[in-house]
Each structure stands twice: as C-alpha cells, then as structure tokens.
C-alpha cells in the first residue's frame, strides 16, 4: 500500500499557518539553526551530495545551482529569489505549501541565502494567490519580530532581508529570467541566456532562483541527514515530490510521495481511482507545457530519469486525468489557445506560431493530416524561440500524436 511521505507538507494540518509559535513547536527554523552552526562550503557539499533537483519543472541539480551562484563573485551583492508564480495549469503544490506552512518556505530561503552568501531575497508570488499572499506577509513579519529575519540572525553574523512582490497575471513570468524582469518592475519579456541568473540575475547580480517546493526540501536535509534523504526516491531522483491530481478521480488533490511512485499508485490508490461511470483515458503530465501519456505508462515510476527515457516529463508535478467523456481534440485546442494568449510576442516564431497552432487545431476534426504540420510548426518554434513558452507546444503535440492519434482518425 503506497503511503505519502511528507517533507514540504509535514506540518500541514498540524499547525495554525498564521501562528509562528505553532510552527516553531513543530521544528520550524531547526534547520536554520543547524545551518548557522556550519560553514557555508560544508552545506554546499551536502546539498550537492543530496541529489536534490529543482522542483519547478526543469529538474536542474539544486546544489550545483547554489555552487555556481555562490562562486560567481566574492564581495558583490547576491540575491535569493523564490519563484512562487505558480501558473502551470493543473499545478497547485506551491499554493498548498504557502497556505499551510509559510515558515518552511522562509526557512528554506534563509538556509539557501546563508549557503551562497546572499543578504537579500524576494518572493515573487502570483497576484491571484490572495490567501498565500496574506499568510506569507504575516509569516515574514512574525519571522522578523522573532529574530529569524533581519540583522544578525539568531545572534550570528548572518543578516537577511526578505520581501514579497506580486505578479499580475502573466504565465510567462513563471519562467525564471522573465520573472527577474518582472521583479525589476518591467514588462515580462524573457531575457537571452546565457548569462544565467547564477551569473547575472536581478539587476545584473548573481541570483539564486528556485521554486517554492525546492526551497522547502532544504531544512529536512540538514535536520535528518544525507543518509535519510538519499534513501528516499530513485537513483537519480531523490526526496519527495508533491503531485497535484485533477480530473474525474474520486479524490483529486495534492499528494506528497517519494520520487519513483507510479502513476497507477497515484491515481488508483491515493486519488481513489476514477469516479463511478468514468474510465481512465490518459493523462497530461506537467501541465500545458507537459506531455500526454496513455494507460500503457501507468506503471512507469514518476522520476526524472524514467520519464525522460519514455519521452515524458514530470514538469511541475501536475497530473491532469482525462476520461472517457473528454473530447481530446477540444482539450488540445484549449492548451494551444492558452499558449497563444500567454505568448508575450517578443519572438516572432512564437507570436505567429502560437496563433497558427490554435487555428490549425480548430481544423483537426475535419482534417486529421494537419497534426503533422502542427508538429513541424511547433518544432520550428522550439528551435527559434528564446524562452520555454515557444519551446513548449511541441511537447503536448508530439505526445498527443504518439498516444492519441486514433482520437483524430476516429472522429
């Protein structure tokens, strides 16, 4: 029987999220205390050895990112930025963390800042996430008055200021370089990379930018140790992951499990299987910028390496379950319209391509051959667009062709 293993959601439901004393009584900031007793270089080694990879979607090794940022300059101002601009359709893990345990996020950011030598940080959060905004704001104020933020934290030489910044309804700002542009108070246009944020981020300074879920894995690694952490998950995917399951299943919602849990365990056991009268007809993993799978992949472990081997992505951890009543072509069209709406227009292939794709999708039912043209167009966009938005439509399109080609020919 599969069970949840909780790191990011360990205190969920056990504390009043707006009461710092509740969180402290259950271990909040214990990881920070351990960090402050260690040399930053020693912590860097631990995070590198932990195998933790970024939970925002790309899966880049977290320790390596910390090391690059830490080593990019000795004396200059460095920043730590939390990407809380959760907007990938089907994803609500960051909201769940922030609403239920905001201090865990602050603690994770503090440890990261101490590790890389940053004195200032920002949380960039979706403007629509009102409850999370309220709770994070209160948590920052409470952490400050309890000596966890500000100057000489807990009597150490380490000082860190943390501020909250709101997004305003742009999916693209969830992309890290675009997020930094927006955080600087500008239009959300992607930047050319390299340079990566570790080298030139906020206002040209070295910046460590991680997803909410990545930061909240940090304290437990110091508290429980590397042996404990590396025993969780698979060979190349360590720790836990929060999957958010939606669609016509009995218990849609969020589930934090060890990496390597199968889709079948998540959907059939944790989410309670399909609702009466509905049958499983595939899923979209990782949101709009994700990949479709069918029933043949139900027993594939949800880990970076196993999904990559079959051309699928874990992405944000969204699992959107399709059922026997889902009009798959209509669903695909919705995704392509989404990209069209969210394209910022900076790169011509993306601006024109996303419009073309959504128009071509409307012809799919009468002209199934057009799918191949759409894939060609999306591949061209992927090669010629600056940021992940223009590079993404090819993912759902190719996997749609692989698993659901009969959905088109059988119309």
């Amino acid at each position: 029987m599969i069970q949840e293993t909780k790191i990011g959601l360990a205190r969920l439901g056990k504390i009043d999220p707006e009461n710092i004393n509740d969180a402290i009584a259950l271990g909040a900031y214990d990881g920070l205390k351990i960090a402050l007793s260690l040399n930053p270089d020693e912590i860097l080694v631990r995070y590198e050895s932990s195998g933790l990879r970024g939970r925002g979607g790309a899966g880049f090794p977290t320790g390596l990112k910390q090391k690059f940022t830490s080593q990019s300059c000795a004396e200059c101002q460095k920043y730590v930025v939390c990407n809380a601009d959760e907007g990938e359709p089907g994803t609500f893990k960051d909201r769940t963390i922030m609403q239920n345990d905001p201090h865990l996020l602050i603690e994770g950011m503090l440890i990261a800042a101490y590790t890389i030598g940053a004195s200032k940080g920002f949380i960039y959060i979706r403007g629509e996430y009102n409850l999370s905004i309220h709770r994070i704001r209160k948590a920052i104020a409470d952490a400050s008055s309890n000596g966890f933020l500000g100057s000489n934290i807990l009597g150490s030489d380490f000082s860190f200021e943390l501020e909250l910044r709101l997004g305003a309804g742009s999916y693209l700002c969830g992309e890290e370089l675009t997020l930094l542009e927006s955080l600087e108070g500008k239009r959300g246009y992607p930047r050319i990379k390299p340079p990566f944020p570790a080298e030139k981020g906020l206002w040209g300074n070295p910046t460590l930018i991680n997803n909410v879920e990545t930061f909240v894995q940090l304290p437990a690694i110091l508290i429980n140790g590397l042996d404990w952490y590396t025993a969780l998950g698979t060979s190349e995917s360590k720790g836990t992951k929060i999957f958010t399951i939606s669609g016509r299943v009995n218990r849609p919602g969020f589930y934090e499990v060890e990496m390597g849990t199968t889709l079948r365990q998540l959907i059939e056991v944790l989410a309670g299987g399909m609702k009466d009268g509905y049958s499983f007809a595939g899923a979209l993993l990782g949101g709009a910028a994700g990949t479709f799978v069918d029933a043949s992949l139900l027993d594939t472990p949800m880990a970076y390496e196993t999904l990559k081997a079959i051309g699928a992505t874990m992405g944000s951890g969204a699992i959107i379950v399709l059922d026997n009543t889902t009009d798959k072509i209509d669903f695909l069209q919705n995704i392509l319209e989404f990209f069209k709406h969210e394209s910022c227009g900076k790169c011509v292939p993306c601006r024109i391509g996303t419009t073309l794709l959504s128009e071509m999708a409307s012809q799919l039912k009468t002209n199934p051959e057009i799918l191949q043209k759409m894939i060609d167009e999306a591949s061209y966009m992927a090669r010629t667009s600056l940021c992940p938005l223009g590079q993404s439509p090819v993912l759902p399109l190719k996997s749609f062709e692989r698993y659901f080609a009969t959905a088109i020919t059988n119309v």
Partner: protein, 146 residues
C-alpha cells in the same frame, strides 16, 4: 533599498492603486502619480500596466468575475459557465454591465484544479462551480451591491 530595488515595488504599487479605486482600474491620474513616484516615463509605466492582464486602464465593475478557462476547468465544464454568465449579465467577456456592478473576465489557471471548475470574484475564490451555484451567487451579489 537603493533606487533600482525601489522599482521592484512598481507592480505592488499598481495593485494597491487599482484595489483602492471603486472601479478597480488605473486612472490617468494614478498613472501620472506613479511615473513621478518611481522616476519613470509615462511610456514605461503604461508599458507595464498594459502588459499584465490583472491591470486595467478602463473602469471595471464593483465585482470582477474571473472565470478560469485553463485546461482542467475547461475539462470540467467551465465553458458552459462562461456562456451562462454572458447570458445572465448580458455582456461579453471583458465587458462591464451597464449598472457598473459586474465585469466578466477570463483568467488562466487559479491553482484550484482539485476543485474545478473555479473562478474568483474580486479577491474571493469559488470552486466546484455549477450553473445553480453561479445563479445564486450573482443574485446575492446584486442584492449586496444595492
């Protein structure tokens, strides 16, 4: 904070200006005041305001209804909710009712996918929506607006 870091407060500031206006938009005056406060040109501020979908340069209703149209809500039937609202209120998406009470907008994923379909009315989130629920809510808001 240095001058550069100050500009990072621009979006927060615009949210505040918009939230404090009864018609929930950025007025010409607010735009001018913002350019002064941040030492930016009007074009720069206008550029920012017009980029982000949560900001509006034209007056909106007392209640902004933002219906999620992203894949999960779409899968769970949000389209029929939009159609119902348009008919019930007699305006298209992006428009405000003549009495100035409601504006209908579309929004991308609100992260409420476990309880789809969902929407927001101003700062409040409503989930597991049905046409009946919407009907009741609209009537309630109409009464409260008077």
């Amino acid at each position: 904070m240095n001058e550069k870091e100050n500009q990072s407060e621009l979006l927060n500031h615009l949210h505040e200006l918009q939230n404090s206006h009864p018609q929930q938009y950025i007025t010409e005056e607010a735009l001018n005041q913002t350019t002064q406060k941040f030492g930016l040109t009007k074009a720069e501020v206008y550029g920012v305001v017009s980029y982000y979908s949560m900001f509006s340069l034209k007056p909106r209703g007392k209640y902004i209804i933002r219906i999620c149209q992203s894949p999960v809500c779409h899968l769970m039937g949000s389209q029929s909710l939009t159609e119902f609202l348009k008919q019930k209120l007699g305006v298209a998406v992006g428009e405000t009712t003549n009495d100035g009470i409601f504006t209908i907008e579309h929004t991308e994923c609100l992260g409420q996918c476990g309880k789809a379909p969902s929407m927001m009315v101003n700062k409040d989130v409503f989930t597991e929506l049905s046409i009946d629920k919407l009907e009741t809510l609209i009537e309630k808001l109409k009464t409260e607006a008077k």
